[in-house]
């Protein structure tokens, strides 16, 4: 079959998928395309004059890709990417397929890639820039344990073409080790603000042993999860000096943050409309990625400042005359930073927590017991829980010490949303902490009510 015919068939699948109401057709066309033309990713990506940038991580890949896209938009570059969150091989293929029909042609590919899909995507895409941000415990039932992912990533790095620019998080020991183990030059990023420090490693911290020698790691400063200024207690491994480093992070409540970043090209500063320390990491990673793409620093500052939230990631919606913020919380490290971010709101807290256990969430819900929800308890005014495993979440809070009669369990997400919003005093914000499919479900309700945009219209 010719290339043109293959592309046409695959595009028809996308239109059908959309018409049948099966989501945005963000994966199916790519699946078909790869069946009938296995080399499609190599072929289509080779046409991009600026090549591709790939971001992978347990947490923050969607937002970071969005921040880089915003910098490229300031540059006036035509970007092709998988912004709808379809981040497996088929999603990348679909994005390339959609881009191949666009005129004028896209110049650069920007892909956020699932951590386990990274090996096959990187092998086919041969990215010009590969950004690896963090590894946290995520869906153990789907992915196996953290070590296995780190090993798979090490194999990816070992196979990279010599001209690929590798951008690594200096503050994540397992990620930083990828550069040292491969004996490869990398651009490191990290957070160097001495005031950005937790008192101790949180319970959910994962990389407490050296990947090189298995001895315990020690920290001079913990920023988030197991990320910070680390060194091995036995061998010579320590946090590399970052090339791109956030020298000042000022968290501004639950609405945004101000960031000053030192780069080899000079300082970059930006007010960013995304809250929390995790977004300081995302923005610093995005700045390092943008520098790797050759974007000048004034455009990077403007791009970071112009970016808004990706769907479900600190996305603010207006429901009637009340505000709600969707904060995706899909694993312990992500949920911990979400809790910390919510606590930046000085008012008594209204929370809706939605726990599903579908394939994209992970079937195993035990991770909620690794999240430090306890700091919320003295600040909670109202807690509503919902989702397939709403009662598991209720137990999590009850065994943390919350009175049983202060938890409202409503299995229907729509009923739970309405109850939580209905109870919200004027001027307050409802914080919604959903897992991935719970977030998609809640957004469907919001889209149906006309208060949020369908995510496949996102650009």
């Amino acid at each position: 079959m010719t290339r043109t015919a293959s592309l046409a068939i695959a595009r028809t699948v996308g239109r059908l998928s959309r018409r049948l109401g099966r989501g945005g057709g963000t994966s199916a066309p790519g699946k078909v395309l790869l069946k009938i033309r296995p080399g499609a990713i190599q072929e289509l990506s080779a046409r991009l004059p600026m090549g591709s940038l790939v971001v992978s991580a347990t947490n923050g890949k969607t937002t970071t890709a969005r921040l880089v896209a915003s910098c490229l938009a300031v540059e006036g570059r035509r970007v092709l990417g998988n912004t709808a969150g379809a981040n497996l091989l088929s999603g990348v293929a679909t994005a390339l397929l959609d881009g191949s029909a666009r005129r004028p042609r896209p110049e650069v590919g920007l892909f956020e890639v699932d951590e386990f899909a990274l090996p096959e995507v990187a092998r086919r895409l041969r990215p010009r820039v590969l950004v690896l941000m963090n590894l946290f415990r995520d869906q153990l039932d789907r992915y196996g344990e953290l070590e296995a992912i780190a090993d798979a990533w090490a194999a990816v790095v070992a196979e990279l073409p010599p001209d690929t620019i590798l951008v690594l998080n200096a503050d994540d020991p397992a990620v930083a080790e990828l550069g040292a183990a491969a004996g490869r030059r990398a651009t490191y990023f990290g957070i160097d603000d001495p005031t950005a420090a937790l008192a101790e490693l949180p319970h959910a911290a994962d990389s407490i042993r050296c990947r090189n020698c298995a001895a315990p790691l020690a920290y001079d400063r913990v920023v988030l999860g197991h990320m910070g200024d680390w060194h091995c207690t036995a061998c010579d491994r320590r946090r590399p000096v970052p090339d791109v480093r956030a020298t000042r992070v000022r968290l501004e409540g639950t609405t945004g943050l101000r960031l000053e970043i030192a780069t080899p090209d000079g300082p970059v500063s930006a007010d960013i409309a995304l809250p929390g320390m995790h977004n300081a990491y995302n923005a610093t990673a995005a700045a390092a990625a943008a520098i790797a793409l050759g974007i000048p620093r004034d455009h990077i500052g403007a791009g970071l400042a112009a970016a808004d939230a990706a769907f479900g990631r600190a996305e603010r919606v207006r429901i009637g005359d009340r505000d709600a913020v969707l904060l995706l919380a899909k694993n312990p490290a992500g949920a911990n930073v979400t809790v910390q971010t919510v606590l930046l709101d000085p008012e008594p807290l209204h929370l809706l927590v939605a726990l599903n256990d579908r394939t994209a969430d992970g079937h195993d819900v035990s991770w909620i017991w690794d999240v430090d929800y306890e700091p919320l308890l003295p600040r909670l005014e109202r807690l509503t829980v919902t989702g397939d495993r709403a009662y598991d979440m209720a137990l999590r809070f009850v065994y943390a010490g919350l009175d049983r009669d202060r938890v409202t369990v409503l299995e229907s997400p729509e009923a739970a949303l309405d109850a939580a919003v209905g109870d919200l005093p004027e001027g307050r914000t409802l914080y919604v902490l959903p897992t991935y499919t719970a977030m998609l479900g809640l957004r469907e309700i919001l889209v149906r009510r006309g208060v949020a945009e369908a995510f496949w219209h996102d650009s």
């Binding site: 079937h363 035990s366 049983r404």
Partner: protein, 246 residues
């Protein structure tokens, strides 16, 4: 008021399946009845006392379990054996279950020795056994359904010194073949059930608490019933889930 003294073994290394949730359940269900829970955390190299009421051993990543397997016989096995002989309780989950047995033979043939408190031996299989798990458990003649999640590559078989904790209704259990799940010898329990194990299984939680308090006081104990509506609902949701996915 009584005090239940718990020794939590390797909380830094063996904690991958939210083992602290099990400790939280032991703590609250004691406190709600006016009892107190004291937890001693013992890590690598720490010697442990033999006089505690309940010893808890969780599961970890492979590398951490190897470190633990070296440390257990050196600093803890003797005290554990003496505590078990004295009627103390052992709850060993996932990797902890394997370590409490005779040992684990990996795919490459290498052997991680256990401490033999349970008559169970584990050999790595070609695939991981993953999913919702429902069993009909039996302890002291009482039968109850117990639910959770399993995720293990090891296939465990029991010798005559242990009986299974229960029979699998849905899921894989010890080895996916003989229908057994977990192992019990006296008051030592090993199981692959996590989720964590205790929040959704109040009967099992109260059984080990009661055993622990009986060890502490040297006399039979009757626990006051608790309001368990949320626990029973979560239990039912997990059972329904296991039915749906199979």
């Amino acid at each position: 008021m009584a005090v239940l003294r718990v020794c939590h073994l390797y909380p830094g290394e063996l904690n991958i399946y939210a083992d602290r949730g099990n400790i939280a359940v032991l703590r609250r269900r004691c406190e709600w009845r006016g009892h107190r829970l004291e937890v001693l955390e013992a890590g690598i190299g720490d010697p442990i006392p033999a006089d505690h009421d309940l010893y808890y051993l969780g599961g970890g990543q492979d590398r951490d379990q190897l470190v633990v397997a070296e440390d257990l016989p050196a600093t803890k096995a003797a005290a554990l054996r003496s505590a078990m002989a004295d009627g103390a309780v052992l709850l060993a989950v996932c990797g902890g279950f394997q370590l409490a047995g005779h040992g684990y033979t990996a795919v490459d043939g290498s052997r991680m020795p256990g401490i033999g408190l349970l008559d169970a031996d584990t050999v790595a299989g070609p695939t991981r056994l993953i999913g919702d798990l429902v069993i009909e458990a039996e302890l002291e003649g009482e039968r109850h359904r117990v639910v959770g999640f399993e995720n293990h590559a090891g296939r465990t078989t029991l010798g005559p010194g242990s009986v299974p904790l229960g029979r699998v209704s849905s899921g894989h259990g010890n080895n996916g073949a003989d229908g057994g799940e977990g192992a019990v010898t006296g008051r030592a329990i090993g199981t692959y059930l996590h989720g964590p194990l205790l929040p959704k299984n109040p009967w099992l939680a109260d059984t080990v608490i009661r055993w622990g308090l009986e060890h502490a006081g040297g006399a039979p104990v009757r626990l006051d019933p608790l309001e368990d509506h949320l626990e029973e609902s979560a239990h039912a949701a997990a059972v329904a889930r296991a039915g749906v996915r199979r």
